[in-house]
Symmetry: C2
Subunit: 300 residues, 2 copies
């Protein structure tokens, strides 16, 4: 069995690596670091950036332990136990409405009785859906998944569709990606192999997003696109505060507010009953925001 410290150390290195690559992709922004200690055990290293390309982003590492808070245990249907959890969490909001918002998380969880599992994923929220970018994004995820298990991509893609869904609007947050939780040796892979998979997901993140930012640089935008971005960011807020289990849970169980809410966009807007004009690029994006699209061969 892997040592907790070994996993945490590797995640910390992953954070370093991703931050370095994102600074290169941004070209001018630098991450600011913020270390924090959890009174009940453990702590974290929060890194935030306000750059030329990335308007607001966070790459957060944490490794926490102690008695599992009672509401968390109840929610996970676990008896009272100690726990250890470590992971890297990322949300990036670009300046350009033509570039997508991206979210990544890889995490490891272990109970005092030796139960363990991995969770995580990567998903993309373009302000404007570009089918070719969506295909590229999903191809990268599939390539990584396929190196480990033939079912991972299709299973985790479906789970992302189900998870990143605004039920009150009956629309997906974006074009999904992969999402998995409670992943343990029952899937047929050893703990070591699943840890390798988590790192592989983490390493897929930066080059994939760098390519998407590069593509977006070629696309001009103006007031109209900025306005739509603000509304799409409003939807991002709605998902995170109403439906995201991690956010809700963190806020309800006294988590570190600033780390949890680093996912919030820098700005957002709400317009009563806004309807994009029929046939507009905004209406087209809206039409893509549904479950079950095969992004490897997208069809309207």
């Amino acid at each position: 069995m892997l040592k907790k410290e070994q996993i945490a150390d590797r995640f910390r290195t992953l954070q370093d690596d991703i931050c370095r690559r994102l600074e290169i992709a941004d070209g001018s922004g630098k991450f600011l670091e913020d270390n924090w200690i959890r009174p009940e055990g453990g702590g974290g290293r929060s890194r935030v950036i306000e750059g030329a390309v990335i308007e607001k982003g966070g790459v957060m590492f944490s490794a926490v332990h102690g008695p599992l808070p009672e509401p968390v245990a109840k929610n996970m249907q676990l008896p009272p136990t100690d726990f250890f959890a470590t992971g890297v969490s990322i949300v990036l909001h670009p300046h350009s409405p033509m570039a997508p918002i991206i979210h990544m998380n890889v995490r490891y969880f272990e109970t005092g009785t030796g139960r363990w599992w991995f969770g995580g994923g990567i998903d993309l929220t373009p302000h404007y859906v570009v089918p070719d970018d969506a295909r590229f994004f999903h191809e990268q995820l599939k390539n990584t998944c396929d190196r480990f298990h033939p079912d991972f991509y299709s299973d985790f893609k479906r789970q992302a569709d189900d998870y990143f869904f605004l039920r009150h609007r009956q629309e997906t947050r974006g074009i999904g990606g992969i999402f998995y939780d409670y992943l343990d040796e029952k899937c047929g892979l050893s703990q070591e192999k699943l840890f390798e998979f988590a790192i592989a997901v983490g390493e897929t993140f930066a080059p994939t997003y760098a390519e998407l930012l590069l593509r977006a640089q070629r696309r001009p935008w103006g007031e109209r696109e900025k306005r739509w971005q603000m509304l799409r960011r409003g939807r991002y807020v709605e998902f995170n505060l109403v439906w995201d289990r991690g956010t809700k849970f963190g806020l309800e169980t006294n988590g570190r507010v600033e780390s949890i809410l680093m996912s919030m966009p820098p700005t957002a807007q709400w317009v009563y009953n806004f309807q994009p004009e029929a046939g507009s690029p905004e209406a087209e994006t809206q039409a893509w925001l549904r479950k079950g699209v095969d992004w490897l061969a997208p069809e309207r």
Copy 2:
């Protein structure tokens, strides 16, 4: 016992009256009306304004009925039953950061087995707390409450403090006001009298807010105040999407999204780990955002 239609009609007239007064206070904005029908029974009349003084506001009337949705019944600890609910709900976001956000709700609820109660209240969220305005606001509420019951103001003021509270930040949404729910004849007043009270609360709303807008007109503001307003609006979003029972509930039970989310500010911002400068007006406002302040004689 009062007739349901009688209560709904009076609430509808209240909506008319409030909209007329708010258009006068705004000076140029006009309410747009939107009628909607609830497939399971009843419907509503939504009115929204984008004015010169009120940047974004909604004054919503609804009267709905049918079988009580199961999750709602469960939440209210009621057996399966029919229900009837009617009310007026208001949220107004002013352009000026020197003017406060205001929220009002008066509602009546009845079950198929003849149980009934009133709920509602008014509360204020200044971007900058002005103790003299806060006193004026609470005086108006107290005057209205005192006409009906000597304990209403202090009881309902405490309930507002407890309800409009961002637990994850350990700060109140604003300066509170009054909040009550499940108010029935056990308080010593008849249904007729409690209905009168609901209307009195409703009639307190427009003149009180008009006075607060008038006071705010005299206060200059610039970029700095606007930036703070955006952050305060971010907190308003956090409260509504994370803690507000009505919003959470509406979204989780398939309510009319646009009516529920009319409470969202037109714009909002989030800055990682923002701390107002010590001694600044922003820090002063922050210091007021706590429970238990006696706003009739505010003391730092």
